[in-house]
Every structure is written in structure tokens, then in C-alpha cells.
């Protein structure tokens, strides 16, 4: 099966080889060296001097971490789809008040809307933004949104789950307080690991936080990283080894710009191919995601049927998400996808919709 999933995505061969390495103690010298190197590579990748922590969790675990460490009472969630909604749900289930700035499905959060919202709700402490909303294939204008958040002096959490590794993220320049992803997206690693950069302001907030719990306590991550180059619990060693390996590959193969070029090239091929079949994309023009293409289903076939029939042909795409399950299907552009797979996938799709 050739994968065009939205996560877990297909992993490159060198990553899978790394996953089968024999284990060793997370308190050993060998582990500490790998941990240190992985963190430094992520800092370079994100162009940040903030600390970067490694979490034994999925990306959603870091949503919970931001809420518990950095929000005392109230936060704002910008919602462009299912994962923005999840952020709000995580906030409320942790007892916080959540303001919502929700756009119609397929429309981005704009700087104007955000500015207006923050002016009328000056008491929110932090703003959560989904950079790339996987459920609708939409990329929010993060650099502009970040400026608005900083103008209002709020903490900024960025869910970069389906963005980091496939599209630029300048953490310090843009002023992101917590920027996180999980392993199974653009980095092309199996699931089980999340990573996040955490600013000094976020850590200060964590220091004051009450009842923040143990598992996601930023201050404990900081302490163990500084003192032991490790985590306060056992980390997912295979996924960390694999991520370290892949970050090394990115560095030796021309750096992150080269990687972003590959993503651009593939997404153009996918987008042009799909449109060439007379199909249209779901999100508003100009905001299409570079990592996942959300396609309106053709009149004769439902999105779900496209998904099932493509599977029969050996291609695992992604179903439409939630209320878009029938109306759309999605084509992932993350992880290990050789360019010739894209041609084959488009050919199979052509046979299906013609």
C-alpha cells in the first residue's frame, strides 16, 4: 500500500532501520548524547534559542501541557476545523474558560478578525492557533497572526502538528511561546513522540501554575533536560533515535530549505494533477495547505467511496474529516512519498473519476 495519509505517514527506510535498534537505558551516556543532539537539531530547525522538550505523548498531549502550565483562567482558541475544536475541548476539560474565534470551514483566521476579537476580549491570557488545519487542508497566515497576538501581549501557542518539517517556522522571529508537533507527520517518524519549543515567558507562567500535574509539567521537563539530558519519565527511545537520524539527514541533504522545496514540488504536482481531473479544492484559494490537499468529491462518487476505491488500487489516502466525510477526501503530502508515487496515485485517481 502506498501511503498518502495525514498521519501516521509512511517513514523513509533509514527511519525504519533506526526503529529496530536494540534498546538501552535512558539514564545511560548513550541516551543522553542522542537526547542532547536531537534537541539542538530541533532548535536549529526552528531557529530558536528557546528550550525544546521531548514528550512521551502524541501532539495533543502538548495541547494539554500548554493549557495546564500556562493558562490560569482563560484562553482564546482560533478554530478553522477539527483540531482547533480539539484545542478548545482540551482547554475546557481542564477547567479553563475558552473564548472561540471560529471561521467557516475552509476559511482562514485573518489578522483583522483576530485583532478585533482580542480587542473585545482583553482578559484572555493566551491564544492557540492551528497553523495547518489537517481536517480541511488549510494553512493559516501564522506570521501575520503572531504579530497581532504579540501586539496584544498574549502568550501564543501554535499547533504545528501537520506543519513542522514541511513548511517554515521561525519561532523566535515570529514570537511563538509554545510551538509543537508530533513525530508521525512531516518528519516521517512513527507516532509516539511529541516535541515543543517553550519560551521563557511560558516557563515563568508554568512556575506560577497551580495543580498543573506531573506528567506535562514544563518545569520538570526543564529540570531533567538541564541536569540529565533526559526526561522525568522514560522517553520513547526508538522514536527519538529515528527523529535524530532524520534531522541529521535533512542537515546533510542541503538543510531545511531543500526539504521545503521537496514539499512544494510534490504539493504542486498533487494540486495540478487533481485540478487537471476537473476536481476542486475545499479550502479558500490562497490558503491551501502545503502538506495535505482536501479535495471536493466528484458529483458521482462520495469522498468515502473515493477513499475505499483508491485503497483497492493500492493507495491509502485519508477520508474526509467529521462533517466533511462524504463531501471531501484528502491526499497527504507528508513523510516518505517518492515523486513517482504521486504520478501513480494521480493515474489511479484519474481512472476512478473519469
Amino acid at each position: 500500500m502506498k501511503l498518502f495519509t495525514v498521519g501516521p505517514v509512511a517513514c523513509p527506510p533509514e527511519v525504519l532501520e533506526e526503529m529496530k535498534r536494540q534498546m538501552f537505558s535512558h539514564r545511560s551516556k548513550e541516551y543522553k548524547e542522542v537526547h542532547r543532539q536531537t534537541v539542538e537539531r530541533l532548535q536549529r530547525f526552528l531557529e530558536t534559542e528557546n528550550q525544546v522538550f521531548l514528550f512521551p505523548s502524541s501532539g495533543s498531549g502538548v495541547m494539554e501541557a500548554t493549557v495546564r502550565n500556562c493558562v490560569e483562567r482563560k484562553m482564546l482558541c482560533c478554530i478553522s476545523g477539527a483540531f482547533g475544536k480539539r484545542y478548545a475541548q482540551v482547554g475546557e476539560s481542564n477547567g479553563k474558560e475558552v473564548e472561540r474565534l471560529e471561521t467557516m470551514l475552509g476559511k482562514p483566521t485573518t489578522p483583522e478578525l483576530l485583532d478585533e476579537k482580542l480587542s473585545s476580549s482583553p482578559d484572555v491570557e493566551a491564544v492557540a492557533i492551528t497553523y495547518n488545519e489537517t481536517s480541511v487542508g488549510l494553512l493559516n497566515p501564522l506570521p501575520e497572526l503572531a504579530k497581532v497576538v504579540k501586539k496584544h501581549g498574549k502568550l501564543l501557542f501554535v499547533d504545528a502538528v501537520s506543519a513542522m518539517g514541511g513548511v517554515e517556522l521561525k519561532v523566535d522571529e515570529w514570537g511563538i511561546d509554545v510551538c509543537f508537533t508530533s513525530s508521525q507527520k512531516c518528519f516521517g517518524i512513527p507516532p509516539g513522540l511529541a516535541v515543543a519549543s517553550v519560551s521563557e515567558d511560558a516557563l515563568k507562567q508554568s512556575e506560577r501554575a497551580k495543580d498543573k500535574g506531573w506528567y506535562f509539567d514544563f518545569k520538570l521537563y526543564e529540570k531533567y533536560q538541564k541536569e540529565q539530558s533526559s526526561t522525568h519519565m522514560t522517553p520513547p527511545v526508538p522514536q527519538i533515535l529515528a527523529l535524530n537520524k532524520e534531522l541529521g539527514v535533512i542537515e546533510t541533504e542541503g538543510g531545511k530549505q531543500k526539504r521545503f522545496e521537496l514539499y512544494s514540488k510534490r504539493i504542486r504536482k498533487i494540486k495540478e494533477g487533481v485540478e487537471g481531473l476537473g476536481l476542486s479544492l475545499f479550502p479558500q484559494k490562497g490558503y491551501e495547505s502545503p502538506t495535505v490537499t482536501c479535495v471536493n468529491a466528484p458529483k458521482e462518487i462520495s469522498g468515502l467511496e473515493v477513499y475505499e476505491r483508491m485503497r483497492e488500487r493500492g493507495f491509502e489516502l485519508a477520508k474526509g474529516y467529521g462533517e466533511l466525510k462524504e463531501r471531501t477526501f484528502r491526499i497527504g503530502n507528508m513523510g516518505y512519498i517518492p515523486l513517482e508515487y504521486v504520478d501513480e496515485m494521480l493515474q489511479a485517481l484519474a481512472d476512478l473519476v473519469k
Copy 2:
């Protein structure tokens, strides 16, 4: 390096092979089948009709889960070492009141002590017990302790992290409400996955819990398991594949009793070997752990030195934990340890201490 660690432990070859499998979606039919099978095998292994959930976390994550789902105000932590202390810390950091029943290092919690404590503190809602306290190599008398907890009508949480898979655990017969472990101990899987059986009483408590959060919400685990044979976030697929594989191996190789016999045989060999060198064990006689041997360091060499010098000889043991770092060293008996490795390790240890 031959591993006698206390986790992550060495994994058998079939587990490492499974770890390198190409990924697939956690919403696919293939994943659902693996998830369902893993859960059913764990239920058989634990002799329980309770639900068993798979957590994208370390074992300590499930400590946090029990506290947040099932404790409204106050719990009792039985402490025989570092991991009992951790449980108390997790309770307090989540804003709960924690009563402590702490024994001297190396001494077990006895049913008499527990009965007395519960009689004088009738307002605790739940009792947490570390079955096997890894830090001191001690096995608490769980079946007898469980009877006391149930007599007092309290919820029972069992940290079975370094026990499950190496020693018997009868969840329903003993009346354990939440019984958990992580992958990197007796099952011999890499770290990144925790598993727990959760009783109906625990789920009822979770239903009433306020501000319990999203990531560790038992009711969400239940919902997604029932409706989708999956989890509400992306699970650590490689570790689940590997655990399923290994549980299958245990079943086809004569069942869990056969596996426990292997653990008994190895631990006897280790214990007799160590004592044959004139060394003594740290914990109280009769309560020595079947999965990790905590050895008093010889007079001439500190525990830390034993650890370092054994490393030079190609054997990774475990350092003493916390305040026992100088006074003890530990020999793990978990995961992939062929019997001949035990002989070689004991020979190297003999050369060192003679």
C-alpha cells in the same frame, strides 16, 4: 552490551523486527484489528473482564490518569521506595491530598500496617500500591494488601510497572481497579506505551470527575475503544504492534505460566550467583523481587563503581536509585536475557569483587 537494566530493557529479536514495520493509519482496518487483538490478549493475560486501555505515554502517565479520573479529594499512597514517592508526588501536583504509608527502605507494606492506616484514615477514596518497587528490588504482598483495601471499600490502583509480564497478576480475583504497566519492562518492548485495566467502579468515578483533562480521560479511552477500536489521539503504533506480537509468542509458547517459570529460573540463578560471591541482597528476606535484584555493594567498591566497571566488561546493570546510589547496585531480570548471559554476567561480577 548485554543488558540487565531495569527499563528500557533488551528486546527479543521478533520484537525489534516488528518495530521496523512500515506505518499505516490508526483509523484503518489494519490498525483496528491489531488494537482489538492486543486488548483481548492483555485481558486474558490479566484474567480480567475489565476494559484494558492503551496509552500513548509512559507508565507514570497512568499514575496521573488514576489521580485525575478517580480521586476527588484524597488518596493513600503506600510507599516502599522511589516509585511510591513518585505516586504521591503525582497526586499532590494534581491538587489532591495525599496520605502516606511509608515503610523503611527495603521493608514491604504489610496487611496489618495498611489495615491500621485505613482504619485511622477512613476518608481516603483510593489506595495506590507499587507491586514491585524497582528502586529497592522489593515485591509487596499484593494479594493480601488488596484484600485489606477491598475490606475497607476503597478503589485500588496498582503500579505493576516492573511486575506485569514477569509475575502473576489476577486483576478480577484480587479486585484491582486500575492495574498498569509500561511496555519497556517485563514484556520486553521499547518504551512509549502504557497499558492499564480499568474497572467499572473506576469508570463510574471518572464520569463524575471534574477538570480531569482530555489526554488521560478514561471515558474518552472507553468511547474510542468501543466505537473505533482505537484511541482518541494517535497511538504509538510500533510499540502496539510489538506488544501484540510478543503476547502472541507468550500464548504459543505455553502461556504465561511458562513465562513466569523462566523469570523464576533466571532470578534464582542471579540470586544464588550473587550470594555465592558473598554479597547480600538489600530488601527484607522473603520479599525479594522476581524481576530486579538490589544488591548491597561490597565493602571495597561503591555501587556506582560496580556499575561502571561492569559496563567496561560489556554488561549494563542498573545503578542504585537515589539515596542508595553508592550503597547498592541492581541487576535487572526483565526482557530479553538468554540464560547464558546470566552466567557470563555473574562471571564478570566474580572477577570484579573477588
